[in-house]
């Protein structure tokens, strides 16, 4: 894609009334790195570094044909709302790592518009760092996403939400891990999927609390709603707990849309199709709650129209 085409991908998510000249970066295998960076954000040798004093919003586009790599470093106490778009080409692979130093607060909304590609992402959180990550995985092709979060400092918190759609002949696999390597850490993941047609979806949710990490909490929910007989869906929850003084919970469900929910909405005059759309919408919508941004809400709402019913 050209630079202009790529910039158009993020445009619906930018509030141009307040953000006239948004800060962004395009990481592409087709042309040199393109960006508009403020003074306190720098890029060198595949490392993007945030040392901003004031909260900021930043956009990153990953566009590639083969291997792409990036390390993002948030210095202590930085506050960043990060909006990502992946437009990876067939067989491309993104390798991304993120480090949040002490007390950094990072909220990410990540939209995937890739072709049959894969992404391996590792996020490391130091003490008191907080990360809320929302993955919108509605791309029109197969995908493999390996998203790992490591809570490496006391009281680090990671909250991950995914909204996945697998349709037609798509084959999607996601592995989401939150690993607690320090005491008093908190991890929560909510992975929601919808499978249609002959789509295939496997979600592996993994919560790991290593020995000695007392006072930690690992929670996860994995749910997949299937629409058609030829769908293939697996929601696998894993909890590996090696300490006694912890809280942990997991839930996994694969099933059809609840008939009683449909009946309730239809009894208020909504057609079956409208009711199914509303239920699906409600099912996937929470992914946008990781970030307080009306533009993203609207944008995601629009992209949900392709989920149909």
């Amino acid at each position: 894609m050209t630079k202009e085409q790529l910039l158009n991908q993020i445009k619906p998510m930018i509030d141009l009334t307040t953000d006239h000249q948004p800060y962004y970066m395009i990481l592409s295998s087709s042309f040199p790195m393109e960006s508009h960076l403020p003074q306190d954000v720098s890029y060198q040798d595949h490392v993007l570094k945030f040392r901003n004093q004031n909260p900021m919003t930043f956009y990153i586009i990953y566009d590639g044909k083969d291997e792409l790599s990036l390390h993002i470093h948030f210095e202590a106490y930085t506050q960043v709302d990060l909006i990502e778009v992946k437009t990876l080409d067939v067989k491309a692979c993104l390798h991304k790592t993120m480090t949040l130093d002490e007390g950094a607060q990072v909220h990410v909304f990540s939209e995937n518009l890739s072709h049959s590609a894969s992404s391996h992402e590792d996020v490391y959180l130091q003490s008191y760092a907080q990360c809320q990550y929302g993955y919108s995985e509605l791309s029109d092709d197969s995908f493999e996403g390996i998203y790992h979060f490591y809570l490496d400092g006391v009281e680090a918190r990671a909250q991950v939400r995914t909204a996945i759609l697998s349709k037609n002949q798509e084959n999607k696999h996601y592995e989401i891990l939150i690993q607690h390597n320090q005491p008093m850490t908190y991890g929560q993941m909510d992975n929601y999927g919808v499978v249609k047609d002959s789509g295939k979806l496997v979600i592996d949710g993994i919560g790991t609390i290593t020995k000695g990490q007392h006072g930690s909490a690992a929670h996860q929910t994995n749910k997949i709603m299937v629409f058609d007989e030829a769908c293939h869906a697996c929601a696998n929850p894993y909890l590996y707990i090696d300490d006694y003084d912890v809280q942990a919970s997991h839930a996994a469900a694969v099933g059809k849309m609840d008939e009683e929910h449909l009946y309730y909405l239809q009894s208020r005059g909504l057609t079956k199709k409208q009711a199914m759309q509303l239920i699906t919408y409600g099912y996937l919508m929470p992914v946008v709650e990781v970030i307080d941004n009306e533009m993203i809400k609207k944008h995601f709402e629009n992209s949900l129209s392709k989920v149909g019913a």
């Binding site: 009683e260 929910h261 005059g269 057609t271 919408y281 929470p286």
Partner: protein
């Protein structure tokens, strides 16, 4: 004036026949109370009128003026002017009350309601029903108390302005103040263009919303019809005297089970 007419209605759930030739005619402007011991078909009657897929009509007819209600889908019945205030309203996560209510209002309109008009209408009704101000932004019935759920049913009724409301134990789970608020809301709907069938076990409800007709439903049939004096008699004497008139029924003491997450998982298997 509209008429909802039920003739010789036979309804099965699973293999068991619950309604056995029930007849009832309700006109707009009337409020009909249905009373009867547990497990004799009161909720089945209301759910069948609304079209719950679990209830299979084996004989008989339901008509709304000239329209064949049984030939309509659930949503067509709603758009034709039927409304069921449910005994156990569903909790639906992810859908906010305001999104749902707006979609429901728009389902009955050609042109979508303007956001401004909708919010004004919603706020006014939320205040009248003494409901939580944040209700519009909360997920549909999720985490609502029993009383809040029932008020939410009444809120929907007020916004949708049906021709016939079917209220299934709308008073259960309400404290005395909430009961009064709900009763006032129902009374405010009463007009020549509104008819109502109410199921309740308690005289208090019918004291606040005076029915024009009262029926006793036993063993899937209406065995007796009258006026408010029937409510008073049942309140005083229970239903034993009905047996003396030659009707028998099984005592059904089973409590309803509310299926939560685990039950749901089972049902998905």
């Amino acid at each position: 004036m509209s008429t909802l007419k039920i003739e010789n209605l036979h309804v099965e759930v699973g293999d068991k026949e619950i309604l056995k030739g029930l007849n009832l005619e309700v006109k707009t402007g009337e409020v009909h109370a249905i009373m009867g011991p547990n497990g004799n078909g009161k909720s089945t009657l209301l759910s069948t009128i609304m079209g719950h897929p679990k209830y299979i009509v084996t004989q008989g007819s339901i008509t709304l003026d000239d329209q064949d209600v049984l030939a309509m889908s659930v949503d067509e019945r709603a758009r034709a002017g039927l409304f069921l205030g449910m005994q156990y309203p569903q909790e639906i996560p992810g859908i906010t009350n305001s999104d749902f209510l707006r979609a429901a209002i728009n389902a009955k309109r050609d042109e979508p309601i303007s956001l401004f008009k909708f919010i004004r209408m919603l706020d006014k009704n939320i205040e009248e029903l003494g409901m939580d101000e944040n209700l519009a932004h909360r997920y549909l019935n999720e985490g609502f108390s029993g009383g809040e759920k029932k008020r939410n049913e009444i809120l929907q009724m007020k916004l949708l302005q049906p021709r016939f409301a079917l209220l299934d134990e709308i008073d259960s789970g309400l404290d005395v103040d909430a009961l009064r608020v709900v009763a006032e809301a129902i009374n405010s709907m009463r007009s020549d263009d509104f008819g109502c069938i109410m199921v309740s076990h308690y005289e208090r409800m019918f004291e606040l919303v005076k029915p024009t007709h009262v029926h006793v439903l036993v063993q899937g049939q209406i065995v007796m019809s009258g006026g408010y004096e029937l409510v008073e008699k049942i309140d005083q004497d229970g239903y034993e005297w009905v047996k003396e008139l030659g009707y028998e029924w099984e005592q059904n003491e089973r409590q309803p089970i509310i299926l939560e997450a685990c039950g749901k998982k089972e049902s998905l298997k």
